[in-house]
């Protein structure tokens, strides 16, 4: 596991969220166990994992909706205890996966109810501001029940922004949204990050996590890894070059074996070679020179790019394979 500590600032005197061996069981069933990490203020933290991995239960536990079975945590600088429940909930907001709107009420009435629950002063102007932020200023009087899934999702996001939370838990915020609406949500998350809001993002969309998150955690009941996406890639996958030639090399061992920065190589017939390298800046020119010296016709040389999806699949599939 890499870097369970935050990449963003902790200048408010501690992490925005910290969990130490946090565990939640429902009877004999373990939802998640021994989960430890820290998230800094202003950080966008991605929480990834397969269905049933315990992501939503973790959000609910940190959001004081469920009581942890063991371990400890702090949220927004407050220890996660029943006594601190109200104060923690004042400082955070949760946007659940399902929008959860009162369908017989209008968008405005839904938000008015939550503005009152958060005891927001000047609720009307705050509601107008959050509706404008999610692009729904002209739909305030629409009944929630007639809105599309995407629009309901946006109302739920507006509701989560009402209280101007320090920490925002977003559970699959772009689920069911079309690409344009998802892009708007991504931009909004970017704006929130610039304003210093800490975002705890659970998502199945690994491209989304890679694009938005400073660090990600991969959970499958236990925490498999925490770190920056690029660090996880480096940790799990060796750097490699993919070389494609027009015709197979007559003696590839002689070509690649002499290069110091190539630690090993393999052949993918008919004429592709994957070279595991220690340093891409040194290896690529040396490989190019060696191929030219061997008289090979080079079609392409490129560094193999591993995505967060590769990291995810490697980590999640590994225990299942064992």
């Amino acid at each position: 596991m890499t870097s369970p500590s935050p990449s963003a600032s902790t200048d408010k005197g501690g992490p925005a969220i910290s969990a130490d061996k946090l565990t939640k069981r429902f009877g004999d069933r373990v939802a998640f166990e021994d989960v430890s990490f820290e998230i800094g203020y202003g950080e966008v933290f991605g929480f990834l994992g397969p269905n049933g991995a315990g992501k939503t239960t973790t959000v609910r536990t940190l959001g004081t909706l469920l009581t942890p079975s063991s371990g400890s945590a702090s949220v927004a600088g407050l220890p996660l205890t029943p006594a601190n429940g109200v104060d923690i909930r004042r400082r955070i907001a949760i946007m659940p996966e399902s929008p959860g709107l009162y369908q017989r009420l209008s968008v405005l009435e839904n938000l008015q109810c939550f503005a009152d629950l958060y005891e927001i002063n000047d609720a009307r102007s705050r509601i107008q501001a959050v509706l404008a932020a999610v692009g729904l200023a002209d739909r305030a009087n629409d009944r929630s029940g007639v809105l599309s899934k995407g629009l309901r999702q946006r109302v739920a996001l507006a509701r989560a922004l009402l209280s101007d939370p320090e920490i925002l838990f977003l559970d699959e915020p772009t689920s069911g949204l079309d690409p344009a609406a998802a892009r708007d949500v991504h931009e909004l998350i970017g704006q929130l990050r610039e304003r210093g809001v800490t975002i705890f993002l659970t998502t199945h969309r690994l491209d989304e996590a890679e694009k938005l998150c400073d660090r990600v955690a991969i959970l499958n009941a236990t925490l498999l890894s925490v770190g920056r996406p690029e660090d996880l890639r480096d940790q799990l996958f060796a750097k490699s070059l993919r070389v494609v030639t027009l015709a197979p090399l007559t003696d590839p061992a002689a070509v690649f074996g002499q290069i110091a920065s190539v630690t090993r190589w393999s052949e993918e017939p008919p004429s592709t070679y994957v070279l595991v390298i220690s340093d891409s800046r040194a290896a690529a020119p040396a490989v190019t020179r060696a191929l030219a010296a061997a008289g090979a016709d080079v079609v392409s040389i490129g560094e193999e790019q591993h995505t967060l999806e590769d990291v995810y699949l490697q980590l999640v599939d590994e225990p299942q394979a064992q």
Binding site: L65, L66, V86, D87, R89, M95, P96, Y102
Partner: protein
Amino acid sequence: MRRVRAIMLKELREYGRNRSLVAAMALYPLIFTVQPLIAIFVAPSAAAASLAGRHELSFMLGIPILVPAALAAFAVAGERQQETLEPVLATPITREEFLLGKALAVFLPALVIAYVVFALFIAVVELFAKPGIAPALIGTDDVIVQVLFTPLLAAWSIWVGIAVSTRSNDVRVAQQLSVLSSLPLILITIMLSFSIIQPSFELVVFLGALLLVADVIGWRLIAPLFNREKLISGPH
């Protein structure tokens, strides 16, 4: 109090736009008003003497029993059906505020409906019943019983309805169970109105005190059911 008011207003808005709840609020008062009215209007003046010793009006106590039972069943099951429990419980609201907001949203309309229907009933009887019927039917003690027992019965029905609602995912199932749970109380009011039970002053005071104690115990028993974890984890 702002959070209690927020929940209460939200509930009242939802009731007003929910056809099945509006129907329940209209239907139960009709059931408990039409039958006595017909009986009274077909009764000749000579029947006044036989009415004097009876307590026909206690039949109308069915309204504060059944109207809250139907509404309270919506309290948690309605939230669960719309998947709104999690966002609400993630706000700073305490379980007592949540419960109080829900209970008041049922109590107030139930009280208004019960009192207004009772007042209209008395007005109609006073104005249109045959001579001698109204004074025989409407005794001061009946009015006092109606005024005092209406909130006590409504509160008990609310606790039963909410308890059922916390254990249900489906509003209609919750309503049926809640109304079913109220039937023993309905039976008592019917027995009173048909003079199967002869209410003495002592019995009325005893029943009133019993209901008051039951209402207080009801609050104590229901409040723990509004534990966030129990509500979120659902009835299973």
